[in-house]
Assembly symmetry: C2
Homo-oligomer: 221 residues x 2
Amino acid sequence: MPPSLSDRLTESILGIIRDGGLRPGDAIPSARELAKRFAITTPTVREALRKLEATGAVEFRHGSGTYVGPTINNVVLANPHRPPITRDSVLQLIGARLVIEPAVAAQSAVARRPENLERLEAAVTNALVPPGGPAFALNFHVELAAASGNPLLHEVLASLLKVRVREQQQIRALYDNRERDHQEHQAIVEAVRAQDAVQAERLTREHLDNIRQAVESAPEF
Amino acid sequence: MPPSLSDRLTESILGIIRDGGLRPGDAIPSARELAKRFAITTPTVREALRKLEATGAVEFRHGSGTYVGPTINNVVLANPHRPPITRDSVLQLIGARLVIEPAVAAQSAVARRPENLERLEAAVTNALVPPGGPAFALNFHVELAAASGNPLLHEVLASLLKVRVREQQQIRALYDNRERDHQEHQAIVEAVRAQDAVQAERLTREHLDNIRQAVESAPEF
DNA sequence: TTGGCTAAGTGATTTAGTCAGTTTGTGAGT
DNA sequence: ACTCACAAACTGACTAAATCACTTAGCCAA
């Protein structure tokens, strides 16, 4: 079963991006240009580009052009066509986070650099601004993973938590004690600042366990 | 910025799959049929289908039809357009696994069921068959994550290790002491069988650390 | 300098078809 | 009655040539 033309084309386009040293945000040749260059037609080029769009490798901007996407160098990504949220899936997610995040927190406590502490502080304080603002930009738990110094851990947590965007309101509604959330985050930051891995791990586990209990005891949803 | 027609179309197609209760392997309506049903043209339908193909939600079979893919219900995915492997990326991957997998092993030791032990045994013994065989089907580390009982953890590890397919030979070449690999796997299985979480965690950490050292001390690549 | 207009470039989609595989049912031959 | 070859009929893969919608940059006038 030979790879289809548009399959080979996606690889060629990735080659153009990589060989050209293009970075996220840079423009790639227009669909017409690519069609001419590869001696094929635009619908076929568009099929290849749509595949790349699905994984965040490229982005379309109507009337402007096609650009290199932010996740082109990702190893893992959140499924853009994810299934609808259910109560079980939320608990499953928290269960997975309960396994992964304490270990990540421990690693971050050891490896954190000054700039990570800054961003963690910012994420903690931004969480208190009213919803709808730029609070989504800096998620505390994602920043905590970033502090580990391993981009792959960052990717994994970011992918896992991307799902949460759709249920964030729901969880907030259940675990609405935002002051408590803030205090727990603050305590984790302090442990990371002190490079106390054991404490960071314990606090993170307790924090997630609190969230889990809040969701579990929620009657609705 | 309203979502494009083909964007809405992907959602509609997913709706057909979900509302129709279609499962992986089932056929979905042909491109021409979908075009007629939504009163649009086939190139547009194909663009939408290509997006779904990129994330494994559907699969094309030339001349036969389009079918529901295996990863349609996944939350996280391995990037099908992943960047080329480098020495750094390999070490990064092992670093991430070193953080995540010991915690997963501990969880698996607690939650494992009899069928998980069976599959783990199978994965351990299959690892000794010559390469190129069905050894790829059952990866020990993926099965270990499956034993946690949390499908999301299984997904995360499977996504992380999917990358390894391309570098498996390379790592095998470096860490070629397959007998030692087998023994370490066997020891982890025993800890999981005994539901000894602490031991499972420790052995997994040591096992991955051995692999990391082997890769680190490799001069080439 | 500012504001609006215009023209070129780009993505989005259509229309109408051809080519290339797969599946299935039919019918001839045994 | 059974088998096998073969021919529709269906499917995906791709082409060709347009048109529409949107963005951007540049120009010109106020």
